[in-house]
């Protein structure tokens, strides 16, 4: 880009375009002067040289070229720009060549007739001055090279522009000092005033495009030399022109001799020069002072900064030391791992102690590689970090070097260091606490078990008390009455009769006591030796005992012990339980049906269950469920119903920690279900 090194591109561009328009305007005025034949427009002052029509055309063209140079960006305008450049360059070169080679190419009055020159008798009417032609030629070359990539070409362009400035300036000074229109000065003097202004303006402005080249660079930039140049040059220029003008005028008016004019101008200029230098000096000193202040300020700030840096470094060191102490002396395990790989970056002594690895064994290795955590748990932690950025007091299990589980409470934080994400985990080992907790739980469980057992025994004792009050009181009260009668009896016959009754009561009392004693014995035998028993074998034994009843009743007995084949239980009890249930089923058979008895074992949630089902008389559960397993409770008017079998069975089952239940429908049958070892969970 042409103006790429301009700081305010829009402003620069605007000013350049404005210059171009002004140049076109100047050329336009000149051309208009020729078209309308108004001499003021041609030469500003009537006595001065005129801007020829050719010159006006070239000025307009060069103005256009300049705008295009600034603004062009598409290929077409670029081509047009080159065409126009070549056009006015060639035109001016031909014009110049006429002066050098003294011939006429016939272009001088091609567009307009130069009546002025003809009337004044000047040579070559309509021809542009050689200086003008030269300037246009130089301008064409310069504009073509101004945006070249080659620095040399760019430099050449710049100096050519300076040359144009110089030529135009000399011409203008000539007008200003009213240098006589002579042959010797004709090269410069023939350039019209407005042409000179155009060249001066255009060449100076164009040289600003590459402001860092040629003489222009003296005046641009913020270097102290540049500032000095900018301050001195205008003053010098102005004072020289003014002094020169005054001394020339004085001499012309014959007030002083030409020699004195030179002396006067020299001395005046020297004096003015001194003042200019003085002004510059003051300005420069002021600048220098500012610079010195700035330097001092900078030094001061630098010093402050250094102090701050030192302070920060100290603080950082302090906090780092603090961190290291916290890290190393903490009883909680602290470990830093890379979030992406899980690689250990640092671990504190507490962690080293907990896991049993040395610090060196940990650092550089990943937690997965050492199987300290499961991949699932590590992923869980990483997800937590990515979603929330932290973890608080969560349970986690870690494995130490010996592959032992460590139950821990885990908190973690995410942090970044040199663009790398890390996770800092705080791990608190609660394994021992966990063990104690588990022990406590176990103890609690066994206590609960014991309580259940005690409750059960209590219940048994209570029912035992009932049994005694119910079953012993009756015979005793009978005895009481019999004794009463005996005392009152008078005949031997009567006494014999009473005696017979005594025997019945005592027999009854005796059997009741036997049963109670048997029950007591069962309850004492809680720790009865248990052994692995086969249901099948036990059942076969029972069948043999009951062979008589089975044959007599034609009972069909089916057994299925496939679901649970064995049980650990006291042998006598299992036999007694089976015997009681099966013999009951046979005893209370329906007179209308052939007895069908089904015996099944089952295993529900690790508990062995025995079910005995029959199709017998059944029991009215609405009436008897309460007393079903009570001592001396009978439900049928059966000769062999004693109310002992189920009572003993229940006592045995419950003493061994089991449970017995029954379902029954009158005249359909009963189902007895025993859950063994219910409490030994």
């Amino acid at each position: 880009m042409l103006l790429s090194n301009h700081q305010n591109l829009r402003r620069s561009s605007f000013l350049f375009v404005l210059t171009g328009i002004f140049i076109i305007l100047l050329g336009g005025i000149g051309a208009a002067g020729w078209s309308l034949n108004i001499s003021v427009l041609k030469s500003v002052f009537p006595s001065y040289a005129t801007m020829k029509f050719n010159t006006a055309l070239c000025v307009i063209t060069s103005g256009l070229c300049f705008i295009m140079l600034i603004r062009y960006d598409d290929l077409f305008l670029k081509s047009l720009f080159r065409l126009l450049l070549v056009a006015f360059g060639a035109f001016s070169l031909i014009s110049l060549s006429q002066d050098i080679f003294h011939y006429s190419a016939g272009i001088d009055q091609l567009f307009a007739t130069d009546y002025n020159s003809i009337t004044r008798g000047l040579p070559f009417p309509g021809r542009m001055s050689p200086s003008t032609a030269l300037c246009f030629s130089l301008l064409a070359i310069s504009l073509s090279g101004i945006d070249s990539k080659s620095t040399i070409y760019k430099n050449v362009s710049q100096y050519l522009l300076h040359a144009i400035t110089l030529i135009a300036f000399i011409s203008l000074i000539g007008y200003l000092f009213k240098v006589p229109y002579s042959r010797k000065f004709s090269f410069f003097s023939t350039m019209a005033l407005n042409t000179g202004i155009s060249f001066l303006l255009l060449s100076i402005v164009a040289s600003v495009i590459n402001f860092n080249l040629g003489f222009t660079r003296f005046f641009t930039g913020n270097g102290i030399g540049n500032i000095m140049a900018r301050r001195l040059f205008p003053g010098m220029l102005a004072s020289l022109i003014v002094v020169g003008y005054i001394s020339i005028e004085l001499q012309r008016g014959n007030y002083i001799t030409p020699e004195f004019a030179v002396v006067l101008s020299t001395v005046t200029f020297l004096l003015i020069g001194l003042f200019l230098i003085l002004g510059t000096l003051v300005a420069m000193n002021r600048i220098d002072l500012k610079r010195t202040e700035a330097v001092n300020e900078c030094l001061r700030l630098n010093k402050n900064l250094e102090e701050i840096v030192l302070q920060r470094t100290r603080e950082l060191k302090h906090s780092n030391e603090k961190f290291i102490k916290i890290f190393n002396a903490n009883p909680t395990c602290i470990v830093i791992t890379r979030l992406d790989t899980g690689e250990y970056a640092d671990a504190n002594p507490a962690l080293v102690e907990m896991l049993g690895y040395t610090r060196e064994e940990l650092i550089g290795h990943t937690s997965l590689e050492l199987s300290v955590v499961t991949p699932a748990y590590r992923q869980y932690m990483v997800d937590n970090m990515n979603n929330k950025g932290f973890m608080r007091n969560e349970d986690g299990v870690f494995k130490d070097k010996n592959n032992a589980d460590k139950h821990c409470i885990v908190s973690a934080e995410l942090f970044e260091d040199r663009d790398q994400k890390y996770m800092m985990s705080f791990i608190y080992d609660i394994t021992e606490r966990k063990i104690i907790e588990n022990n406590l739980q176990d103890t609690k469980k066994s206590l609960e078990f014991l309580t259940d057992k005690l409750n059960n025994q209590n219940k048994q004792l209570l029912s035992f008390a009932h049994i005694i009050s119910h079953n012993l009181r009756a015979p005793v009260s009978n005895l009481n009455l019999l004794v009463h009668f005996y005392k009152e009896s008078t005949t031997q016959e009567d006494k014999d009769e009473l005696w017979g009754n005594f025997e019945t009561v005592i027999e009854h009392l005796n059997s009741t006591l036997d049963e109670l004693l048997e029950t007591l014995k069962i309850q004492e035998d809680i720790a009865k030796e248990r052994e692995a028993l086969s249901f099948e074998k036990t059942f076969n034994g029972i069948k043999e005992i009951l062979i008589g009843q089975i044959k007599e009743s034609n009972a069909v007995i089916t057994a299925d012990f496939s679901k649970a084949q064995e049980i650990v239980y006291p042998k006598i009890y299992l036999e007694s339980i089976m015997l009681n249930l099966i013999s009951n089923a046979l005893k209370y058979k329906s007179p209308e049906r052939i007895p069908e008895i089904t015996i099944t074992s089952d295993n529900i949630a690790g508990e062995a269950i025995l079910t005995v089902k029959d199709n017998g008389l059944g029991i009215d559960m609405a009436r008897h469920s309460e007393n079903l397993f009570g001592l001396r409770k009978t439900f049928h008017r059966h000769a062999e119903a004693k109310g002992v079998g189920l009572f003993l069975t229940k006592t045995q089952v419950e003493t061994m920690g089991g449970e017995i239940s029954a379902e029954s429908v009158v005249d359909e049958g009963s189902v007895f279900k025993i859950t063994f070892n219910k409490m030994q969970a």
Partner: protein
């Protein structure tokens, strides 16, 4: 009012049957006596004779612990049957159970006039009967021993 005064004993204890009849005999109370070995048998008798007031007992001595139908169950059934019975029957519970729970349970049943704990001496039975006779006012009656199905042990 010269109707026979009928006593009813419901109890499964054979010795008790013996002592009761003997007590009554020794007291010289010649009454009509009904004896049942369990509640169900007594219930069947009541149902069978519901229309014959002259056969129904005036007093029932009821035991609580019995097979097949115990005392409580008998009372339950009796309450259902009561509106159909055209005779005032007084019920005494006479049992060997000294369990306070049983006593409490008996108290809240309005049909039970009293709760007697065995052994019931002949004098005690005499007192009760005299009491009843005073209110009902009957004296003479035949001593009648009724044995129904009595084969329960």
């Amino acid at each position: 009012m010269n109707q026979p005064f009928i006593l009813c004993f419901i109890d499964d204890d054979e010795i008790y049957h013996y002592t009761v009849t003997r007590s009554l005999k020794s007291l010289g109370l010649t009454k009509k006596v009904l004896i049942f070995s369990d509640g169900e048998q007594a219930m069947w008798f009541l149902i069978d004779n519901i229309a014959n007031n002259e056969n129904l007992p005036d007093v029932i001595f009821l035991d609580l612990n019995m097979p097949v139908m115990n005392g409580w169950q008998f009372i339950e059934e009796y309450v259902k049957l009561k509106p159909k019975i055209g005779k005032v029957i007084t019920i005494y519970v006479i049992t060997s159970s000294s369990d306070p729970a049983d006593l409490e349970r008996a108290k809240v049943i309005s049909e039970i006039s009293d709760y007697i704990i065995k052994p019931a001496k002949p004098e005690m039975i005499k007192g009760i009967l005299e009491n009843l006779e005073r209110t009902i006012g009957s004296t003479d009656g035949n001593f009648f021993f009724n044995t129904t199905a009595d084969d329960v042990t």
